[in-house]
Symmetry: C2
Subunit: 153 residues, 2 copies
Amino acid sequence: MSEEKLKTTARVSFTEYLCSKKLRRTPERYAILDQVCELSEHFYVDSLHAKLEQEGFHVSKATVYNTMELLVDCGLVRRHQFNNQPAQYERVSGPGNHHHLICTQCGKVKEVKDPELMKTMDSRRYPTFNAAYFAIYVYGVCSRCQRKSKKKK
Amino acid sequence: MSEEKLKTTARVSFTEYLCSKKLRRTPERYAILDQVCELSEHFYVDSLHAKLEQEGFHVSKATVYNTMELLVDCGLVRRHQFNNQPAQYERVSGPGNHHHLICTQCGKVKEVKDPELMKTMDSRRYPTFNAAYFAIYVYGVCSRCQRKSKKKK
DNA sequence: TTTACTGCAAATATTTTGCAATATC
DNA sequence: GATATTGCAAAATATTTGCAGTAAA
């Protein structure tokens, strides 16, 4: 999907969400969503805010925080938080199809695709819990840190 | 496993860990570990600290934070952090055999056993990543919150 | 016209850090 | 005896909140 098409699709979803919840469609909210669509990787509130300012769009951080909450609530964005770092966000593009490898030494996060595992996850059913989406984190040591510890020895 | 046996096993692991890393075996560290073994559920640094003080063992919070890091590093404890709440910790008893259901409305966390899923997870292999353990979070709406939203309509 | 939203600054709260005193090795 | 660890208080920092002004409906 092209970035433009992606933006359009996201805007439509967001508009539907805002209307259904009787929330206002402000330029700030759409500018933040647009910027989110331009960030392919995981990002932080701080980096998102900096990018917006850099592009000449002034918003307060409070508004960015507020909007991220809406975007998470409407399913366009996922929130992750590892090891007491600031929260990381990630745009959702299509059905969840990857999980995360997290290095316990350097904190780096890598995405991995695993269709078989995703299928297994999708097949899970819970009697009294209405599941919406899931996140899988595998903790371990990344290749770079493995090399580092070998050197030390 | 009885609580006493569990404590003993945990102490042995922790001692091995401390020795291997040439860290000191202080009464504070063991007292914290013992207390962790007495908490079956997820807990916070704050509640753990309060429990210790309540039982007459005085430790500073800084030491609790420090020790939790060691316990996580040596694999006796897992750390979770949801939705900007303070970090939650959970004692690891035997091989990982459950995952978590998290209510996006009230924030409540529930453990679920799913041996089949655990088997699938254990079978995953990554070429350059040395996996140690994993965490699975399923987000959705718990039964209580489902009832609440029905009432509202 | 109503009131939700924004920006700003101040408040909050968890976690980290600096340092002197202490206890482990 | 050397120095890692502790306790305490202060600092750091992400996020939330209060409030007056602005703008969407």
